[in-house]
Amino acid sequence: MNHAHAYVPLWCKSSYSFLEGASHPEELVEEAHRLGLQSLALTDRDGLYGMVRAHVKARELGLHLIVGAQISVSDGSSLLGLATNRLGYANLCRLLSAGRLRSPKGESVVEWREVCEAAPGLHALWLGGVEGAAAPEVLGELRDAFDDRLHALALRHREPEDALRERQLREDTARFGIPVAAGMEVLYHTPARRELQDVVTCIRHGVTLATAGRIIRSNAEHALRAPASFAQLYADAPDAVARTREIASRCGFTLSEIRYRYPAEHLPDGSTTSDYLRALVRQGASERYGERIPDDVVAQLERELDLIRELDYDGYFLTMWEIVQFCKRNAILCQGRGSAANSAVCFVLGITAVDPVRMGLLFERFLSKERGEPPDIDLDIDHKRREEVIQFVYEKYGRSHAAMVANFVRYRARSAIREVGKVLGLPETDLDRVARMLSHYESLSSETATSAGLVAGTEAHEHLVRLTLEIQDFPRHLSIHPGGFLLGHEPVHDLVPIENATMPGRTVVQWDKEDLEDLGLFKVDLLALGSLNVVDLSFHLVEAHWGKRLSMATLPRHDEPTFEMIRRADTVGVFQIESRAQMAMLPRLRPRNWYDLVIEVSIVRPGPITGGMVHPYLRRRHGQEPIEYPHPSLEPILRKTLGVPIFQEQVMKLAVVAADYTPGEADQLRRDMAAWRRSGRIERHRARLINRMQRKGIAPAFAERVFEQIRGFGEYGFPESHAASFSLIAYATAWLKCHYPAAFTCSLLNAQPMGFYSPATLVEDAKRAGVAVLPVDVRTSLEECTLEPHPGSRGGFAVRVGLRYVKGLRSDACQLLLDARASGAFRSFEDFAQRTHLPRQTLTRLAQAGALEGFDDSRRGALWRSLGVRDPAQPQLRLESRDTSPCFATLTDFETVGWDYEATGHSPRGHPLTALRDELSAQGLADASSVRALPDGRPVRYAGMVICRQRPGTARGVVFMTLEDESGFLNVVLWQSVYEKYRILAKTASFIGVTGKLQVESGVVHLIADSLWQPRVHVQPRRRRSRDFH
């Protein structure tokens, strides 16, 4: 390359300048490298959102990445700030944080005064004043603040206005002796992205391409240029080109310089964090094991503590301990998950509940000196009380030292279709139809668009398909990670800019989880887990109604009735093993103890499934094939799982032992596994792994399977420690369901929304289990569901549905009702209406829900009377006397259930299909329990309500549906050809008929569909919410 042509693009915006840049940071870096550029400045608008991705790619390619940002100033202009050193970077972060924190979400504004104050360590590039303004006086102030670290940036995009703008810029800056550098605003890495840039600009401004006018750029001159092309653009100003190199040479800061220190604990007695942690561990070990701590535990603890001290991670463990202590003090259920369960220190500190020494879990999976990565402890917290814990962290560390981790909301196919199509001017109703044809993970194809009614072959059609694919995975805006915290010894805003989250009282950093991992920063994950709330609520109900105090630690370790229930796949509502796929596996795996549950939750995962490990494991477990190891060296690794790798760490160890991976290679494999969906990097391990295994004498088929499993593990494999933690909660919820089904159902209903099934399915399941569920009643219901003595119900208690289940009933209305009831029972509808002063709309909702039936009135009568009540604004309540009420037809059973569903989303009074059973039977349609009793291979016609649709990525286009009727569930399998043929019916129908053949295997029943149809009944059951394609 001709050195005279060399230049540095100083103003580049990526897709992280939301809806402005049209290339990912990695693409900009790769293209710059391909063009032979030595450096590139990434300067996204008011943020460093994409900087880590660019940094990782630049490090990989050896390109000098200049860290900077475009800073918006209050007078409407902006300037570029480039970090020359660590101080400059901290100042940039502070400046951006100040702008963001004072502005509404998505905006940022700073004052010139603040820019000047942030000058140390920053290099500024003046982009020109606001159009039409007089020569900016602020230039003098900037020159004083930045001295020789201030340049003006000329911009040439082959637009007619370029010359006039540059002349003005040169005149303005000449007065203050500010040199001019050559530049352009880079918005995409190649001109091919210009169209996408137009589209995102239109999305940002809410206009269509046809009406955008000059909102979109006039040409495609905003791509990275080759050096010669740039030199030609500035052929008249080679000195300005040379200045870009000079500026770049001054910007020596890289993100690798960030030295992170975890916040030190403030210890009252002056002891070190290390001493304090050791003391806590000693105390915790005594509590876990008693006075005689086993030798192997002591040795393990010592080993871990030494490593923690050596890596200076004591503070992190103390933080987690602090948080757990806070939860315990406040009776908030919490439990550590993930690789932390491999740590004995975490176990004795009460952070996790699995004993890693007893389970033989590897501490190195959690923390290793070679890996040099910070530990990652995820803490599951009762989802209703997690906010208390979050505010505790803010309070303890202060807002300047704690902020939540970001999550970037990205375009998926559905959102992309809607927004791109709108910009193209396509009818929104058409777009909605196309979008609904796709599942969450599907991409738009030309065929899908055509089948949804878009005219194939038109330009708009082609643009939609192409641009929708292109925009997918683009970040749209910043959101918040479910529970990740970044804590810092130094203020966090010196590490990364902070901004306000949408949720009040939360601040969020501009980097996501992967960014923090790439930079090796500590993250504390406080995750919400609904099942912990269920367990907590159940414990309280059992204590209140049965007088027994329960806790996770005191539940019986092995309870045969519970495992018997699990083996029957009677697991609706049970954590982790309630899904359709898990239910189908339970009768095959037949768990007998807690460790079987660990296997169960791990085996129904894409890793083992795509790796073809499921069937070999099951055959070996049931003695149908011998337990063999592909190589003697693998026996220690695979013994626990009968020679079949099921856990993530087994796969890692396989690579090391069977394919002779070095620790470095294994670490790379782990990273590539986590990232394979994004970049496909896992493929490069294929040949290496398989060849090396074969050289060691391992069968090629096994080697292939191991590789497939590694690939499948990606983001979807469970480490053993993680599965073990989850299995504790799974067992606890199963035990509660088995022994206290009423309390369990009541808790599940109160913990909603959560879990796999809708309240309707939970209620139906409870009813089938013999638990009476009583409808909402204004005379007895509280806001939440409660238990009432009921001799006919299993366990002696029935679930009374709470007022919260009446749709549209606000919490304050509930309170009004409860306050009025506290002063005496309601005597009649009139008494109720007069004393509660509830508005007419609320009364009608209660009437429709059947909550007023207790006043000896029909539901329709109650509705008529509710409609006649004047709103509280008119205090003189006028109620017609009863005899003036017309006679209304009594609700049929079918209508009764329909009203329940409409008003409360479920029906304690019956199943929607009960009233249709005679009609269905007359058509030869049996119920689910009868169908399940039929033998294998029997042709079947069946009709049921759809409660779940799934199309797992591992199933090669096969769709699974769970149908339900009053007798239970029936699982339906749709091969891809059948699904494609009945696609619309399969995706949209709530009540559906299936013709097919029964498949019965190891007690697991599936109906293999040949065709779908709409059942012919005189009325259609009310539509129910199903869990679709999640």
Binding site: P160, G213, L424, G453, E459, L863, P886, W899, I984, K987
Partner: protein, 493 residues
């Protein structure tokens, strides 16, 4: 007892939508109020209705019921135009035709005296149905005794129905489903919850109870259906044409004499306008010449007027601008009336604005040269030079609000249509002779400025240059990179 008929073109907006999208006929289709997923469904076809898609639903909700539901918007203007046209057609069957204001596609016809013209009501109704079918509309025709009775029957059945007595009509109406009546969806749903699904059920409800619970509109409907409110069919009164003509004794080719004749014709028409508080909005002047040719002139004053002198000035300008080849034998004038504004009716309205005079002058220009003679340029936010402004007719001159501007030193005149230049030769021994040898070669060139866009419709890419020729002309040219041709787009003066 008087006979009334109801003609219902079911879901007229839907019929219009299907006329636009023939390919949608076998599918479930709905008309929505706006093209958004949250748009409310106004009308549905039977396919959609059978899947429980009902008016009042949001499109997104309906789509979850029927995956292949098609939807579109039909504007009120389009509906109004069609309703007017259909009313005109129906006018040939009875003088009294009333189009429903709030139910497009529903018409009431006074059927009194029809039996003198048609052998039976059935034949009359069949003829109506046949005519509408010929115009591409499906219809139902019911002949009965009451406005709402026939309407309800028309909404619930197909084809033609004739009630022989009022009791038969009443009995039939009681069985009609409320859903068919097109009542407000929220009222329909609220009543359905109470089990009130037929008109008979609805009529049985206590009137005061309906008023209290469902409001005045529902109450009015209730009374109508019970027969408590009666109103006759109110047809549109036909407008009398304000037209006058005169057969001249001998052919006249002199404009002043023709003007005198026209003045005689106009004067009584303007008096009629005055009596009706109306003004002249337009004037049609039809001339028949002795050589059996015809001419027709449409004139429009700046504003509605009854000022005879002003109108005659416009007529004179128009006639003087045309050479009358032969004498005029017959003249007809026809006035388009318009409701007069209060100001126009004020006898001594102040006349301080010069704008009126200006507008009169412009009206004269239009009269003489045609409407397209008075245009104005409006700025547009486009990238292409020709898309940065557009020409549009200037209907009325508004008061100017000039801004102080710095007069640019140069003026760029843009050609209405770019002029294609000769292809640039590979070898230019005498330099680039962009405009031929007479202007000399290009001495100086600035550019390019690139305009590229329109990719979503018709992609184009132009590289613009300013070039100065040896002769001193400063040209503004571009290289159409897609078509590989050069064009002259303007010149700088």
């Amino acid at each position: 007892m008087g006979r009334t008929a109801c003609v219902d073109l079911p879901e007229l907006p839907l019929q219009l939508l299907l006329r636009r999208h023939e390919e949608w006929r076998p599918l479930p289709v709905a008309v929505v109020d706006r093209d958004k997923p949250q748009g409310v469904i106004l009308w549905v076809n039977e396919r959609a209705r059978s899947s429980r898609v009902l008016p009042g639903m949001r499109y997104a909700v309906a789509l979850s019921l029927v995956g292949d539901l098609r939807a579109g918007v039909v504007s009120e203007g389009e509906i109004e135009r069609e309703v007017d046209a259909i009313a005109q057609h129906l006018g040939s069957f009875t003088p009294d035709v009333e189009a429903s204001r709030d139910r497009p596609g529903v018409f009431w016809l006074q059927a009194r005296g029809i039996m003198r013209l048609f052998p039976s009501f059935e034949a009359w109704a069949a003829r109506i149905s046949w005519l509408l079918d010929r115009h591409g509309f499906a219809s139902r025709v019911v002949v009965g005794f009451s406005r709402w009775g026939t309407y309800a029957a028309a909404r619930s059945g197909n084809g033609i129905r004739v009630f022989t007595n009022a009791a038969e009509e009443t009995q039939h109406v009681r069985e009609v489903a409320l859903e068919r009546l097109g009542v407000d969806p929220s009222l329909r749903d609220a009543l359905a919850r109470l089990g009130i699904v037929t008109l008979g059920d609805f009529i049985e409800l206590p009137a005061n109870g309906v008023l209290e619970r469902f409001g005045a509109e529902a109450h009015a409907l209730h009374r109508k259906l019970r027969g408590d409110l009666w109103s006759p069919v109110q047809g549109e009164a036909p407008e009398e044409p304000l037209r006058s003509s005169l057969l001249l004794d001998y052919p006249e080719a002199q404009v002043p004499r023709l003007l005198l004749v026209i003045e005689q014709l106009l004067r009584p028409l303007l008096d009629t306008l005055q009596q009706g508080d109306a003004v002249l909005a337009g004037l049609q002047l039809r001339l028949r010449f002795e050589d059996r040719t015809h001419a027709e002139h449409a004139l429009r004053p700046a504003d509605g007027t009854r000022d005879l002198a002003q109108i005659l000035r416009l007529v004179r300008l128009r006639l003087e601008s045309r050479r009358l080849e032969s004498g005029v034998e017959e003249i007809e004038v026809e006035i388009t009336p318009a409701r007069a504004k209060h100001e126009q009716l004020t006898l001594f309205a102040q006349r301080r604005r010069d704008l009126r005079a200006a507008n009169r002058a412009l009206a004269r220009v239009r009269a003489e040269l045609g409407d397209a003679a008075v245009m104005r340029a409006r700025r547009r936010e486009g990238h292409l030079p020709e898309a940065r402004f557009s020409w549009e007719p200037l209907p009325k001159l508004e008061a100017a609000r000039p801004r102080a501007v710095i007069v640019p030193p140069l003026v760029r005149r843009i050609r209405p249509k770019p002029l294609e230049l000769p292809a640039r030769p590979r070898h230019e021994p005498d330099g680039w002779l962009v405009m031929g040898p007479r202007e000399g070669p290009v001495d100086e060139i600035t550019g390019p400025h690139v305009v590229a866009g329109g990719w979503w419709m018709r992609a184009l890419e132009r590289a613009y240059y300013f070039v100065r020729t040896r002769s001193g002309r400063l040209l503004w040219i571009y290289d159409d990179r897609r078509r590989r041709r050069w064009f002259l787009h303007g010149e700088v003066e």
